[in-house]
């Protein structure tokens, strides 16, 4: 729809630059709006107020501080694995952005199996976390990494099964296809606002949020980094920019998961009545607003609930979320055929 033709290398260069910019920006926005400000106000305090307007540059200052720190390797660490583990985690975050659409043409690559790809690469971070925990030569790190592995594998299932309900209803795995299916959909014959799957897949949305919470290792599922038990889990031995990578990956992935949630259940970049070039222009802002709405839910839960016990975590996933999401798929399938 945009009347400019770019060579493959040009468009690829632009896409890489945009994604490279979005991840730190998303991490900064989430870190500032939710971690620093929302959490502070939920605890009746103001949070950082000095660096920039209302402390808005606090995280930039923190990032600069991390860059200045010494890059320490523990004496018994496996240097190579220890060094690249944060990069593996960050890479999984980067790959997630490949399939997230921000407008009719604003997508890095509209894969036919888009959501499948996103779910697959999001599991790559487990490898990085296991590498970090093992290579640190520290028992806290190792326990944290194993907890993370157990948790991410357990919650991968309800996450994917919750998404399957959406895929069944949309009839496609492509992220753009899911957005268009919601835009063209109808609820009980009313098609004015399309059909955001939040309404028809409400249970899917709830399961997706809970599982995403665990995938992001946010409280109440933050046992892998539990400060009071494991210091900082697999991040214990990391300093400087490698720690910064973990931090960016954590919030960059939160941004990506909020974007996936917004795309699957809230209609993504689509807003009723906006078509064509205007959608390309407005899409990113609409998507951003929806991301913030989903992220608000995620962080609201994070700042309200205390940490679960390890067995409670596994019980919730295997005994409740997975059967419920299977029921959701069955119900969606029956309704899809019957209606």
């Amino acid at each position: 729809m945009i009347g400019i033709d770019l060579a493959y290398w040009q468009s690829t260069g632009i896409k890489v630059a945009v994604v490279l910019g979005i991840i730190p920006a998303g991490a900064l926005i989430f870190g500032y709006v939710f971690l620093l400000k929302m959490m502070s106000h939920m605890q009746s305090r103001l949070g950082p107020m000095e660096a920039g307007f209302h402390g808005s540059l606090q995280l930039v200052a923190d990032g600069l501080k991390f860059l200045q720190k010494e890059d320490i390797f523990p004496a018994k660490a496996d240097r190579f694995v220890f060094g690249i583990a944060p990069l593996v985690v960050l890479m999984s975050t980067f790959l997630l952005y490949v399939v997230i659409p921000a407008g009719p043409d604003l997508i890095v690559e509209d894969l036919d199996t888009g959501i499948f790809f996103a779910m697959a690469v999001s599991s790559l971070s487990v490898l990085g976390i296991l590498m970090a925990g093992w290579a640190s030569a520290n028992k806290y790190s190792l326990i944290g990494a194993l907890r993370a592995a157990g948790q991410l594998i357990a919650y991968e299932l309800p996450l994917i099964l919750a998404v399957v309900g959406v895929i069944v209803q949309a009839g496609t795995m492509s992220m753009q296809g899911i957005v268009m299916a919601q835009a063209d959909g109808e609820i009980f014959g009313i098609g004015a606002i399309g059909n955001p799957y939040l309404f028809t897949q409400f249970f899917g949305f709830v399961i997706f949020l809970i599982a995403a919470q665990a995938e992001l290792t946010q409280a109440p599922f933050d046992m892998p980094v539990a400060e009071s038990e494991l210091v900082a889990g697999y991040m214990t031995e990391y300093t400087g920019f490698r720690f910064l990578f973990f931090f960016m990956a954590e919030f960059g992935t939160a941004f990506a998961f909020a974007a996936i949630g917004a795309t699957l259940f809230l209609g993504g970049w689509y807003v009723p009545g906006v078509e064509g070039d205007l959608a390309n222009l407005l899409g990113p802002f609409v998507l951003f607003a929806k991301i913030m709405a989903v992220a608000f839910l995620i962080f609201w839960i994070r700042f309200s609930y205390p940490r679960l016990r390890e067995d409670q975590l596994q019980t919730l996933a295997w005994k409740y979320l997975i059967p419920l999401s299977l029921l959701n798929i069955a119900a969606t399938g029956i309704l899809k055929v019957a209606l």
């Binding site: 939920m42 009746s44 305090r45 103001l46 107020m49 609201w300």
Partner: protein, 160 residues
């Protein structure tokens, strides 16, 4: 059932978020401490008799006292000159002080007082040792004693 409790918890944090924060932005906004706040200890030098009770009761030994004997004019005409104790040195090391107030409590001649002043931080820790001149300056900030409660016994003897 657990669910209502979980939702209630979300409501608590949400309402707390909408309420204004209780934080006071200290260097920009100053809160007046209450009159009996334990900010800093002031010394009324003329009341001190170098009895050392405060220094001996101090749990972390942050009071340093040195004194000497001196002669004071007699109370009545033709009387003998009185012997009094005077201060050479009265220092409180606020880097050690834990603000328990025992020295103020034990002082038998009302030479030590609490003042609500609290802004005396220093760049160098040695500067937190306040000598008797500086402790005397704090006397200006000591508030008048609060009025007694209705029906309380009148104090037996007015302070000197």
């Amino acid at each position: 059932m657990e669910l209502p409790g979980l939702l209630k918890g979300l409501g608590v944090t949400f309402r707390a978020m909408l309420k204004p924060a209780v934080t006071v932005q200290y260097p920009h906004v100053k809160e007046a401490p209450p009159a009996r706040a334990r900010g800093v200890i002031a010394l009324k030098e003329e009341n001190c008799t170098v009895c050392m009770l405060c220094a001996r009761q101090c749990p972390d030994w942050c009071i340093y006292i040195e004194g000497y004997k001196d002669k004071a004019p007699p109370r009545r005409e033709g009387g003998k000159a009185r012997t009094v104790q005077k201060l050479d040195r009265f220092d409180i090391d606020y880097s050690l002080c834990m603000y328990c107030g025992i020295c103020v409590e034990v002082c038998p001649f009302d030479a030590l007082f609490w003042s609500p002043e609290y802004e005396y931080s220093e760049a160098k820790i040695a500067d937190l040792l306040h000598d008797k001149e500086k402790l005397g300056e704090w006397m200006e900030s000591v508030p008048e004693p609060l009025p007694l409660e209705v029906g309380a016994l009148a104090p037996k003897k007015a302070a000197k």
